[in-house]
Subunit: 373 residues, 2 copies
Amino acid sequence: MSERIEVTYRVRAAADTVAARAAALAVEQSVEMPVGAIADAAIRDAYVGRVEAIEPVENDAGWFAVRIGLAAATVEHDAGQLMSMLFGNSSLHDDVVLHDIALPPAMGAGFGGPRHGIAGLRERIGAHDRALTATALKPQGLSPAALADLAGRFARGGIDLVKDDHGIADLAYAPFAARVPAIAAAVRTACRDTGHTTLYVPNLSGDLDHMRDQIAVARAAGLAAVMIAPMVAGFATVRRLVAENPDMVVLAHPSLGGAARIAPPLLFGTLFRLIGADAVIFPNAGGRFGWPRETCLALADAARRPWHGLAPSLPVPAGGMTRARVPELLDLYGRDVMLLIGGALLEAGPRLVEATADFVAAVRRHDYMGDSP
Amino acid sequence: MSERIEVTYRVRAAADTVAARAAALAVEQSVEMPVGAIADAAIRDAYVGRVEAIEPVENDAGWFAVRIGLAAATVEHDAGQLMSMLFGNSSLHDDVVLHDIALPPAMGAGFGGPRHGIAGLRERIGAHDRALTATALKPQGLSPAALADLAGRFARGGIDLVKDDHGIADLAYAPFAARVPAIAAAVRTACRDTGHTTLYVPNLSGDLDHMRDQIAVARAAGLAAVMIAPMVAGFATVRRLVAENPDMVVLAHPSLGGAARIAPPLLFGTLFRLIGADAVIFPNAGGRFGWPRETCLALADAARRPWHGLAPSLPVPAGGMTRARVPELLDLYGRDVMLLIGGALLEAGPRLVEATADFVAAVRRHDYMGDSP
């Protein structure tokens, strides 16, 4: 395998030092030793990172786009190793941002990407021509019965998807094995009444074996989707679970993903998709987090673009969204999106079903301005 | 469990807005919803993050130390969940740094920490009154035979520990099951000749099950230690492996640990120790990475301090160290340290055994200036 992964970093440097900095970066992310001390010429040729291009970043003085070719043979299809080779040591250098990647064709297909993607999610919910709606179960500390009651009311409001808050793990006050079947049953009962399908998506936690047990519980409760935070669980854990459970839709949560120096479109839109996330939750512009609108759009574009024949991932903007913003968000993202509103629905208190129904109706009645589904 | 984890964040804010920012942070890292919408007073009292203190950071205008109490019941002993609760969503906010933690007593003991620590490492190597020495096998691309030859020569130089480069995974050109027994045999043969014990430490990769298989291979090859990168593998994976393999010494590698906004003394010195790292490798001041000396010392202090009765972790400064720096490094860190020199030894080429022996001798003859072992 002499193929290369083309990795683009953003490097902060002076014009007269950037070439040396790029060369050092190529070594750091590959052989990690003085190149002159590598006796074997074949190894120097095949494994030392190669600086392919250095260009100033437009409108960002002092920063350069540095493209480096890394040997694909040093990664194969190990998702954790991919992260180490892309940014392992250089994450420790504060003048470098991991910006983008291009993979050799066999590598994209080898990782496999989402098993369901946008089409699979739409199929399960039975909604093909509009954006999807989602909310979250909160706060921490609620009992299984309280969570089930809340989920049932969201479902009665007609929401498409209810997920656990990512802070809801497998804990004494609401053990996974007790709460998940209870919540699933409440949602099922509500769906029987409304005639609409609401997916309940429990949050996985712990190590690989814990997550396997949790998926078994979820499957026994008739569920078709789970949520996982790849930066917490580890990329290899996610990839393994996706491979072992091709029937399960996987939502990715951004927890711990704020490593400031991996570009969000790459981390959430590209890498989470590569390892199998069918949908990716991210903090949207204008909410509780500070990402600019362009970053969010670039992330959604990365998740949905044609890429190595992998199914697209559904972008899920979240983090302080409100019903008032539905039209603006759908104008921005189009149909292939799932809007996630948590706290702003919970604030409706006793009127939660109605608030949820308002949210759902706003999404359903949106005019995509001639954009055909 | 009404106990609290006391988490100190550094927050960039104006003096007249920091109280509101701290309150928002406390909510973000706990219930993650409008507090007024939580109907149950008992849940508000027990689970909403509590701002305990706000103080300006000395000599760092515009930054405040914000101490927040988070309910220990939301974590129990799930290492991944701990990371999510400490910094999951707030990692996405660039005005917040995760700075330090204080755990309730039961939590520290429950996680367990290192199974061997500094004393166990010393015992295995048979060196009790001096600093330890280490090096790394590089570059990527070497065959099992070439790696074994290199490791044997390092061992002949009398080094205490040889580890795989973290880029050496389970790959076609040097599969784990082929290279690890070969390297172990070469080191064992050399040790028979020198009479000194050199530990060989292979790098684990892949998911939990892959790592279990790799540990079985290592154990069958007579090895007593393994290396793992917690930020790549996931904290829960590390904790599980430590629990399942109490006989194995665990070295932690910092790969992907450069999330700029977790203070290194906390991430590497405290959290890696908490989940069981017997030794922690980190990029030392004055090498290829830019950390200041104070950060490195604070990290070493955190790894070695008395803390919840957990065994101390051995600090392993690395990343561009040289033989010339041995006296300075030992003056700085004292005896309880392992110096890791990779590239600078490999540069010796055919004189690698002698260069290694020089390094070892420099460490052995260091005068700790009256500091009794």
